[in-house]
């Protein structure tokens, strides 16, 4: 990813409606994002585009992801 694309992604991760997502997504960008493969990066970008309550429900485990790829990335986010 180009630097400006990464900057934009960081903005979309850390200027959320919910504080919980600002923290978890920001932390993941700093510590886990670089370990994602190309397909996982695309999935992560799709997840970031979700509504805040829906995304937080997945990350906090209130709802389980049905798509295996999504599930993989959610597990990675939770680890950081």
């Amino acid at each position: 990813m180009e630097q400006h694309e990464l900057n934009k992604l960081r903005w979309h991760c850390t200027r959320r409606a919910l504080l919980e997502l600002d923290i978890t997504l920001g932390r993941f960008l700093d510590n886990g994002f670089n370990n994602l493969n190309e397909t996982q990066v695309k999935t992560f970008i799709d997840l970031v585009a979700m509504e805040d309550h829906d995304l937080w429900a997945l990350i906090s485990g209130k709802v389980e992801a049905t798509d295996p790829l999504e599930s993989e990335v959610i597990v990675a986010i939770r680890k950081h």
């Binding site: 630097q3 400006h4 900057n7 934009k8 960081r10 903005w11 850390t14 200027r15 959320r16 409606a17 919910l18 504080l19 919980e20 600002d22 923290i23 978890t24 509504e51 805040d52 309550h53 906090s60 485990g61 209130k62 939770r78």
Partner: protein, 595 residues
Amino acid sequence: MSIPVHKYDVVIVGAGGSGLRAALQVAEAGLKTAVLSKVFPTRSHTVAAQGGVAAPLGNVNEDHWMWHMYDTVKGSDWLGDQDAIEFMVRKATECVVELEHYGMPFDRLDNGKIYQRPFGGHSQNFGEKPVNRSCAAADRTGHAMLHAMYQRNVRANTQFFVEWMALDLIRDDSGAVVGVTALDMETGEISIFHARAVIFATGGAGRIYASSTNAFINTGDGMGMAVRAGIPLEDMEFWQFHPTGVAGAGVLITEGVRGEGGILRNCDGERFMERYAPNLKDLASRDIVSRAMATEIKEGRGCGPNKDYVLLDITHLQPETIMKRLPGIREIAIEFAGVDPIKKPIPVVPTCHYQMGGIPTNYRGEVVVPQNGEPSVPVQGFYAAGECACASVHGANRLGTNSLLDLLVFGKSAGESVVEAIKDGKLPMRPLPEHAADSSLARVNRIDSASSGESMHEVRAAMQRVMQAHAGVFRFGEDMKKGVKEILEVAERVKNVATKDKSKVFNMARVEALELENLIEVAKATMISAENRKESRGAHVRDDAPDTPEHPNGRDDANWLKHTLWFGSDNHIEYKPVQLKPLTAPSVELKTRTY
């Protein structure tokens, strides 16, 4: 340098609840309307509001706007303006019904009417017993509200400028507001938005504190811009706190944890609430628990390397109880505190939640300032609504579910005032002053060209530490004096912030440096106003203004029943009277606030 100029009838800054409601009012009247927002509208912090919106519909049990008014005045500890409060509660039903017609999926009763639930501080018959007054859409009220209003705005042809950050107000020589400057984050370019009227709906500034429930976006941009344009801020000493936010993160731990047997402990492992509230202990009211926690920390019995938090212990509960009765708490503790609460206690601290003060307005949403001996003279072309504004309906403390009501009623009212003034020919398109964008360009250029200086992150953290330590939930005279000195020192450091990233496109470092320039104005306003108010009232509680027979709850109406106005140019304070006379109702007479 030629700056692009966009011309609109009305420019609204902020696309949360009040911004969208204001935009709808002006766009549906056929005015050319622009909304600027740092984020997509449905990512605004209004989404986080879960409790509901207060309205005396009386769908579950009998209710009346005068009861709602009484509760709000009492909640405000009599600092709320009673004309604005009457206006708000009398408009509540209309605003909720409108939302329903926009498609808001309110929870319903079997008979099809909107379901209402009880909420703290709301009562029947002037404090007699609880009333069901909150209208909600499951636990996503704010989210559903924003969606309903965004769709409606799209229908009304409101033009959204998403990922644009407003930088400064533009005022002409007469003081009238004629537009704003704004930064397009996608290109890094600065433009002028020239308009007949500007409405600020930029939300709160909870990020001035180290521990805040507010999302990162709440950086007080509207207040920073207002201060730089010479507008004072009102009642900034009043902030609502929640007792148990995760230390270092701010994410809330529900009060249900103490209800299920959670115990607060200091660094000695002592159950300190036994000393402060021998009967109720950890189940004492929010205020008492918060003050006890702050006192423990202040007296050196906090935990951790900096002794700046206490522990919420549920390790004595059965794991099954925790999982069953407190769903989600274990995940929050693991995620944000890094501890499994089944094995270890959770670090917690009183956490900033909501700002009662803001840009001074009247109930028409007009921004008002003192002029020639008059306390509240409207600024031509300038309006504000929602958490960034101070109407003042929340006074010294806000009732739950009145914040969503505030943003609906005053967003609409600001929009109506603009429509009416334009219709009456009172808001012509005034010419832009020469060099309208100069001060914004200078600010951005300074950040861009600084080759060395202080780190934004370090200076912001320093500001947050000062505010948390000296203007927290329980305030100490000497600490606040120290806090004023320290926050002014931090403000000097803000002027010297430099960023490494000099790129144009989505330069987050530059945006964060600009946000910090807004935050620091709010921090100064808060610290100086807090030190100045020598009584306890509502959410402003001082150790040296205790509960006495002469001054119950530490409140001193003889000297302090007045609004604070802080001026950023030289940090001086003026006062304006509280409006004790409602529009039509009898005044809610002063008395001691007890629940």
